[in-house]
């Protein structure tokens, strides 16, 4: 279990949520620091200490539901992001939060239920198929033991059968889910990488074994599971090590695999500098990265094409009916790998028919 060392909150938030905050502190057994200003938590100059073991109890003041920004010029899969938390106790070398996050703590929202309730009201009126995920700015499950959110999400999304909620994780923290009745519209998904990469580049995360074991256990209990090979990291032996992972997925029941996504490593221009500083021994920057049209560094397109074709061919051998898609890829790469470029309806048809919604 993740150990939280410090809890921060603002004076104004403490006034309003004193009871809730005290109970969280009691449960976590971590000291509370009441801040005069959020600025005290800002990361100054060098972004070396991201406060992986700190929590900032605050309020969600902006838009909680937004369209996944995808990437300029990429094919969007129509995903929506539910901002339930920002920050992650894991420390993956490639993580974009290193650039994005500006405070030394994971922000946990005390007004989550209020916000989710409003989203649920909006979605129930809209009555349209949607895929929403909470794992964009955080790991959906890793803090669930100590800062639970699942009950709230479960309660509201249970009433929204046409909306698929995805909980994305690199943990094996599935206890809370095991106590719940599986819902067809809640997918628990894992980011997968070969154990060698997990060990070297995904600090503090659960091992590949543990991730697959958890996924299997949940699928056996009746939950839909999903897998994300994202980011796929190129190395001279990538075929061997990724094939090994694909082979281990064979034991999963394809009909209960919600989707498998593929995405190769990519990052905005400022990221390599931070990665070099924080992870001087990382090998992830060793590839042939080229600045692509969306101003992100990606592997040279021929390498991406080769990786995707390899992954797709091997995944299709076992999972020909499972939706497999590329995350944040260009139309040209889609065309080269899949032979077609998806239009705006492609994804909603693909997923809704798989879920029979």
């Amino acid at each position: 279990m993740i150990k939280i060392k410090k809890i921060f909150t603002d004076k104004s938030v403490f006034k309003r949520y004193a009871k809730e905050i005290s109970s969280i502190c009691k449960k976590i057994k971590a000291p509370l620091v009441i801040l005069n200003s959020k600025e005290d938590l800002y990361i100054k100059s060098q972004r070396l200490d991201l406060g992986k073991n700190n929590v900032y109890l605050t309020l969600q003041r902006g838009k909680i539901l937004s369209k996944c920004p995808c990437s300029k010029g990429s094919i969007s899969c129509g995903y929506f992001v539910l901002d339930t938390m920002v920050g992650c106790p894991f420390d993956c070398s490639y993580c974009y939060l290193q650039i994005y996050q500006n405070i030394r703590a994971t922000s946990f929202y005390l007004n989550l239920e209020e916000k989710i309730k409003k989203v649920a009201q909006f979605l129930s009126k809209r009555k349209k198929f949607m895929r929403i995920g909470t794992g964009e700015f955080c790991d959906s499950l890793t803090l669930e033991d100590i800062l639970p959110q699942l009950d709230i999400l479960y309660f509201y999304f249970k009433k929204l059968p046409f909306v698929i909620l995805e909980l994305k994780t690199k943990s094996d923290n599935i206890k809370s889910l095991l106590n719940l009745k599986p819902l067809k519209n809640i997918v628990v998904s894992w980011s997968l990488n070969p154990q060698k990469i997990v060990k070297e580049e995904e600090k503090y995360t659960a091992s590949l074994n543990k991730r697959l074991k958890s996924a299997y256990l949940l699928q056996q209990k009746g939950w839909y599971v999903g897998f994300h090979f994202d980011p796929i990291i190129y190395s001279p032996d990538y075929k061997d090590i990724y094939l090994e992972v694909i082979k281990r997925l064979r034991k999963f029941y394809p009909k209960k695999i919600a989707w498998i996504s593929l995405g190769t490593l990519r990052f905005p221009p400022r990221t390599p500098q931070v990665i070099k500083e924080r992870f001087p021994d990382t090998k992830i920057l060793n590839g042939e990265f080229i600045l692509s049209n969306d101003n992100k560094y990606r592997y040279f397109r021929h390498i991406r094409r080769e990786i995707y074709k390899f992954m797709l061919d091997n995944l299709k051998m076992y999972f020909k009916d499972v939706p497999i898609y590329l995350c944040m890829e260009t139309a040209l790469v889609w065309k080269e790998v899949f032979g077609f470029v998806p239009d705006s309806k492609y994804f909603s048809n693909l997923f809704s028919s798989h879920f029979s919604i």
């Binding site: 100059s45 060098q46 042939e288 040279f300 021929h302 390498i303």
Partner: protein, 310 residues
Amino acid sequence: MGILKVKTEQILLEESFTISYPLYEEKLYESIKKVGLLSYPILKKEKDKFKIICGKRRIFVLKKLGIKEFEALVIKISNKDAFILGFLDNLAKRDLNLVEKINVLKGLKEICKLSWSQIAENFSQSLNLPSNPHYLNKIYYIHELEDSAKILLCKERINLETCLRLLRLNETERKVFLEVFNKLFLGRNKANDLLDFYFKIRNKRSQKDILKKIQSFLKKEHTSPKQLFQTLREYLFRKAYPRYSAAKDKVKNLINNLKLQDIKVEFPQNFEEKELIFSFKVQNIKDFITKVNALSHIDKEKLSEIFKTL
């Protein structure tokens, strides 16, 4: 204690409390040679020897000049205070260079036994360094670098970031890159460019050959620094980006094989689109028709090969 006559042989030059770097300075040498010492070095007595608190450079010059005895202020002081006195004395008189600042960090850590947080809080401002303990801890290791690197750092021919990256190389690799940086006056971006490419390939078996090749480039005479940098960069880039470079070369060759005179054919350098731009200038209708004719008779097989390669 007080002003005493001290023999230069009694000085423990290597165990001093001072931070001065580099030790030898031509101007100081000339000045001492002409007028002698203008102020007393400050020393701490250790049994029958002396450790320098202030004046290491001056004593170094005295030794170089063959002076056997000089006057100094000898004081009784703890090691911690001796180090702080030496460092504050230097700081009051002049700006410290980066190596000296790192020597200060080393002394505060090792002699004064302070934590990085204490150092950051109490000394980073006077040293004009960021007050981040992790950062201070990181740059502290620069003291492990060899003199050839430290001298380049003092001369500002390499920067802190480059130094930190040099620390990750082994001695042989570092020697080669220090030779490069010594020969070429590179800015931060250019120096890091070379290191970036090298880090991408350094784990490969060909590491030894790469270093040899770099050295062979360095030995070539009559090459301007600009040319040398370009050659090195191109060589390392090709090693670090083999597939991209091969594809780019192939497309360039195929375009040349189209033999379109005075018609420029460009392709996306990042290969993110399969497209070509044909451009040409015309001066009259005849010229225009000639170029359009050339385009309409373009070798379609060769053109199709280009699109395939893209």
